[in-house]
Amino acid sequence: MECHRIQEKSSAYAENLISSEEKKHIDSHLRTCPKCSLYLEELKKTIAYAQGLEDIEPPPWLAQKVMSRVREESANWKKGIIQKLFFPLHIKVPIEVIATIAIAVTTLYVYKTIQPEMRLTEKTSQQVIVSEQEEKKSVLKSNESFYKDTFLKAPEPAKREGFEKKREVLVGKTETVEAPIALTGEKIMPQETDEVFDIEAIGAKKPAPELKVMAERKRDSISLTVNVKDIRSARKEIRKVLIQLKGKVIKTESFEDKDVLIAELSSKELKDLFGKLRLIGEVKEKDALYALEVDAARFRGDVKIKIDIETGQTGTANNQN
């Protein structure tokens, strides 16, 4: 037992890492125990052998090789940084382009939102049919190169503007619809100036309809005119319809010759609205309504609707050639 303990301590003893007390104890044991003495002796020799192992020289080329690897590391690391910053060109550059476009589009959109406030004051019931051709030309001139690419990459906002134009062209015009422009209108960036157009139904070739639906687009709002027999009941009906379609009636005004209802409705319900309006009043200008419906599919979110309820007559001063 004792010998085992002593032997365990022999490493520390050999290195003199024990207390003097312990040393005394071990010394006295060793004096009487040849086994432990031998053990200790052999252990000391072993340590000496190990300590006697000489260092070997590393190969002479080792330092050079290390340095060349390290230099390579350093160079790669610097390259790596540049690569990270600029990324593979085919990813980074398109991202930058899209980002620039997004900013440009957003800016324009915001700008246009501000515009109507200026417009409302001067615009009354004046309808102006702006020559699509002129507009197209001017827009193309100023924006062609920049926006051509834009539209390939950022279709959404562009489409809205484009379709707006399209609708304006289609609505109110029949045979005179300039289809090609409408189509290309998608590709044209709406210019910063006025894009509010009142286009009316030209009844030149058709008999004046009892119901005239005139669609006018003001940003994301629609104005309709419904021709009915009885304004008051029609108004009630229309209100019902709007509520039915989960719309909100914001305002109603009564004038001498008409009622005006201003409401808000989800664009998804527009089609239903038109259908129901037809039931309330007569529709003769199917084309216009159809065009509006077609276009309605492209609206998003809530739409503000202004419904003019009128009776009989050729309507209002909205007739213009």
Binding site: Q7, E8, S10, S11, A12, L17, E41, E42, L43, K45, T46, I47, Y49, A50, Q51, G52, L53, E54, D55, I56, E57, P58, P59, L62, A63, K65, V66, M67, R69, V70, R71, E73, S74
Partner: protein, 204 residues
């Protein structure tokens, strides 16, 4: 020494700073200074000098890569040695798996650069050592060390062969001081027994 922030007392402080700033060439000073020790640590742990050559390179490159992460919690040299010890240990595990480094036994040839030597146990306890040159004894000793389990190998290499202090060893191996001592004793005892088998009674 343990836990002491030595950065400002560290001999290598200036050089390390240069390297951290990206001055590649400053690293050469480090390489030249420490390559021998690194090489020997690796060689003694793995028992294979060609493996050691590779390991040392890897260790230096690894150190360079991570030099910005050196915070001065220990001496730079300690940090450096830790890297080479870890790499050596890992490589050793792989080598053992491949079965190239087998348990040393009495009749096994000792694989060295100088060729193979067969040991015969002298009967009657006559010391064969007197007939062998020190070099061959050294080879035996290394052979016996190679026979040790990894953790015992490391301590005896670091303490008895490389001469590190218990504190330094504790730092590098991330083990307690008491653990170092007990492992060391077992390592020495095992080498002792192994040597006795190979060269008989150990000459004084």
């Amino acid at each position: 020494m343990k836990g002491q922030k030595q950065l400002n007392l560290d001999d290598d402080y200036d050089v390390v700073l240069c390297c951290q700033k990206g001055e590649v060439e400053a690293f050469e000073e480090i390489v030249k200074k420490y390559q021998k020790k690194m090489f020997n640590i690796s060689y003694r742990i793995t028992g294979d000098d060609s493996e050691a050559e590779e390991i040392v390179q890897d260790a230096f490159v690894s150190a360079y890569r991570g030099i910005n992460g050196f915070k001065g919690k220990s001496k730079f040299s300690t940090w450096l040695y830790t890297i080479v010890i870890n790499l050596s240990r890992n490589r050793l595990k792989k080598i053992k798996k491949r079965g190239l480094n087998e348990q040393f036994s009495i009749d096994d040839p000792v694989d060295t650069d100088d060729g193979q030597i067969k040991i015969e146990l002298a009967s009657g306890g006559l010391s064969v050592l007197e007939k062998l040159e020190k070099k061959e004894v050294d080879l035996k000793v290394q052979g016996c060390i190679n026979a040790l389990e990894n953790e015992f190998r490391e301590v005896i290499v670091l303490r008895d062969i490389q001469g590190f202090s218990y504190d330094e060893i504790s730092d590098m191996l991330k083990i307690a001081d008491g653990t170092v001592k007990s492992r060391l004793h077992r390592a020495r005892a095992a080498v002792k027994d192994c040597l006795k088998k190979t060269i008989g009674d150990l000459p004084g």
